[in-house]
Symmetry: D2
Subunit: 294 residues, 4 copies
Amino acid sequence: MARRIRQAPGGTLLLHNNYGKSRVRMVKVSRKGRVHTVREFTVDVALTGDFDDIHTRGDNRKCLPTDTMKNTVHALGKKHPITSIESFAMRLAEHFHSSNRHVERARVSIQETAWERLNSRGKPHPHCFIRGGEERQTCRVLHAHEGPYISGGIESLTILKSTDSAFSGFMRDQYTTLKATRDRIFATSLNAEWNYLSDPERPARIDFGACRSAIRGALIQTFADHKSESVQHTLHAMGEAALRTCKAIHSIHISMPNKHCLLVDLSPFGMTNPNEVFVPTDEPHGLIEATIVR
Amino acid sequence: MARRIRQAPGGTLLLHNNYGKSRVRMVKVSRKGRVHTVREFTVDVALTGDFDDIHTRGDNRKCLPTDTMKNTVHALGKKHPITSIESFAMRLAEHFHSSNRHVERARVSIQETAWERLNSRGKPHPHCFIRGGEERQTCRVLHAHEGPYISGGIESLTILKSTDSAFSGFMRDQYTTLKATRDRIFATSLNAEWNYLSDPERPARIDFGACRSAIRGALIQTFADHKSESVQHTLHAMGEAALRTCKAIHSIHISMPNKHCLLVDLSPFGMTNPNEVFVPTDEPHGLIEATIVR
Amino acid sequence: MARRIRQAPGGTLLLHNNYGKSRVRMVKVSRKGRVHTVREFTVDVALTGDFDDIHTRGDNRKCLPTDTMKNTVHALGKKHPITSIESFAMRLAEHFHSSNRHVERARVSIQETAWERLNSRGKPHPHCFIRGGEERQTCRVLHAHEGPYISGGIESLTILKSTDSAFSGFMRDQYTTLKATRDRIFATSLNAEWNYLSDPERPARIDFGACRSAIRGALIQTFADHKSESVQHTLHAMGEAALRTCKAIHSIHISMPNKHCLLVDLSPFGMTNPNEVFVPTDEPHGLIEATIVR
Amino acid sequence: MARRIRQAPGGTLLLHNNYGKSRVRMVKVSRKGRVHTVREFTVDVALTGDFDDIHTRGDNRKCLPTDTMKNTVHALGKKHPITSIESFAMRLAEHFHSSNRHVERARVSIQETAWERLNSRGKPHPHCFIRGGEERQTCRVLHAHEGPYISGGIESLTILKSTDSAFSGFMRDQYTTLKATRDRIFATSLNAEWNYLSDPERPARIDFGACRSAIRGALIQTFADHKSESVQHTLHAMGEAALRTCKAIHSIHISMPNKHCLLVDLSPFGMTNPNEVFVPTDEPHGLIEATIVR
């Protein structure tokens, strides 16, 4: 049931619009006796629907404040067990979609920051945690009339292999100066997003945590073991491994910057540098992206 | 002419891929006698095409190194007059598209950072410049078989109005606590992107600089003058004004965070606060987005 | 009157301590009829004094909460005219110092972000503002028994000159590969801090705004006009100019990164590059610092 | 042997100056058979000495280029085993100090970013690594005529405890609104720097790695176990524990922001919130600092 696009008074069309609240942060502490668990989330909510009058007439009667979205994240965050970020995102998206008839699509994205339990004198500490790295666990749920679309993901997982990476036999033109190499450092900050097979009847049946763990493991293990001829070559193998390991997903999109480590030329100082000393650089960087589907 | 998608050995499909170099930086100094001009650019290049063998076989024969893309930006940056970032992006995209038969689409994005000429003793200084704010002038060119798609844009233009902004009469549900207001601060960091009408015969005829200047002016002036009932309301008026002022564009997408300035409650100290003292916040923030077309 | 340092039970000494609230943000809107003025501040407060029992015994009786410091910034921010950040910092520092007998030193730092009034149809707009660049106006006030120490400053003023900068005749050792040049780009992000002559009787007599304006102008003008033999050479001339232009200060500390712009080697492509195309880099960077006194 | 400060022609004095190269990055790969080790460093070099003529006359004869410092870091980085960042910093500082007679003090700071070896199928992978968190291992060495001063440190170690933290019984004034609490989240991003006892004869005898490990462990363990009455109270206990655990240091400076997690008020929605749902905030934040000595 597509919404009819109305022409605005000025002769223009409001082709698309969405609005919501971004970067709603929440820490949730759960307790089992003396043992606490701490999780930290950042939630983005965006709604699409019949909001034309808000734009064209300044009529806010269909405008649920973004402040209310923030409150809703906190209130449902208290009620919901949050066994997975995907299930919490589904609950939130369903809430925004079902409680407002003029909302056509509700999109909820969640980013989780890891807090690792402290190991203290050989035992897990009941209530002390150390923040993990830049890596974020992510998900996106789009709730529309035809049921939810669910994706999981990883952002900024920074990994490096110090060998088993080559780049040679490439195309050359008049601006090519790069030398081929059979051994280089391969460093990247992995971003991946995978889409779950849609089964509107029972999305809750998917074990999102197990899928995430298997996919993350397959991506890293393949990166580590692959005899890489290029970033593309390894990225593709990683995507295939993810699809192989988790039958519940039908596609995966991977984006990998090539965080170049440049070999330092020590020859002016009468020294050789057999792949020992490198300068890591942030910019420019290669950027390789692909979507692999079943 | 769509490329046939081939099935990879593993039973998966490489649905989409692109690769390129991101954040290629360049400063260009031009000279007219003693008077210098300095411009700073950051360029992203991304190619899409028949790169399947790179991914699936580790065969790099069709892989132009991203290092070559960087070199090309610098070499063509020297040759090209860069009268506008759009014309330079067109030149680069055309180069990558035309010189490699297996490239189906070449996308070039450029971001320009302003360097403002120093005013020195009432006169423009010939060679000293002060860096402008966070605002960036941007463009994107997509070069494909059917001709270029060209868009211009602005990122991170941070503007604030201290009155003529209200938010009232909005929807309420069980999680709504926000109070209506007829007078508040409205602060945002504007991102906009407009699409030029495509005329493959003569894209170069567009005066991109004049369009940019007119659109930017219309966006800011409308923000300043609008009696705002909501971010959506003002965003829409801004988009309409942009379309009105520049006939060469057919649509504009605007994304505006609501960078909330919260009124401080001074009543615990026996003081009133008639819209004088606010706390600006970065997160959470509202995010309002719309695309308006002719 | 120095505080006696007491030995803690564990045989250690608490040599020094300070505590406070950092990054207290505030926007203040002032009104003259229809014309508004908007200013944005970030305030840091730090107190030093007899706080040993807080540390060693967990006794908080002398601990004014940092939350109270935040409230104080907002409450005094409402009451105070804030004609200059220095005068507001003095007021705050004096408040914290005088109202708590066990506070030996109160340090208040303020950073101001510029909001420039929009020029609209040739006239200043009454209530619309555009955020300026990364440059910040800063000050620090230290309030102690013997009277206030006041400094002003500038942070992150990014300036560039495209000629009149050389670096030659320098020392060489076995690790030197740099080539001398008589013409290069000189780009920096200036940080400066100047100290006002202390006159405990009447610090308020100083016209901080006029001093700041004169010093900032002298720093930029000297950077622009100097025939630079090195960053050091120009930094020193800038510091001397600042001391010359403002008799109310007795010293200035300047810190200037050398934000290298590397000339691109286009010779592999059969092209020359007579100081036209450069790659700006963020790291590594030179860092030159000096304190110049009367 | 202090350098005589000379008056500059303009009647000013160059009281202090230093110059150097900052953010020199280096990745070093070491190999034992098939097993690689990867370490990443960022080095800052700063020299103080008789550099007046560079500033006042534009005479560069005593100016070793900062580019040479960068080269030196890479060349010595190749030669040196880098068993600890402290020993490498000592080597670098000694080099700059001893090879240039007019250098009075050479200061070298190193920051190390962790790369953790991948655990792959239950075994350590020979050449694949995952980047650790924001935590950095740091050191500073100051080499002067009278021997080196050596400090080690930690930056941005982000830790959180979800109970055993109170803040009550504090001072109140007219601007105090904070409520006392006997149970709150305590989150911080620890920065610490400790100073080694100087023994110019044999600094190399210190086992810097063992000291670092013991100090880091004592800081975290104390944070975890302490019954905290305030950030100050816990910080002090942490400093004492560090001094107790490592006899080779004579003092430690700790700086701890109080990264407030605010309890969400769910009462408007008819819900209680017994320390379950919090909003983590970045600003403003408390900042507590102390130096504890033997």
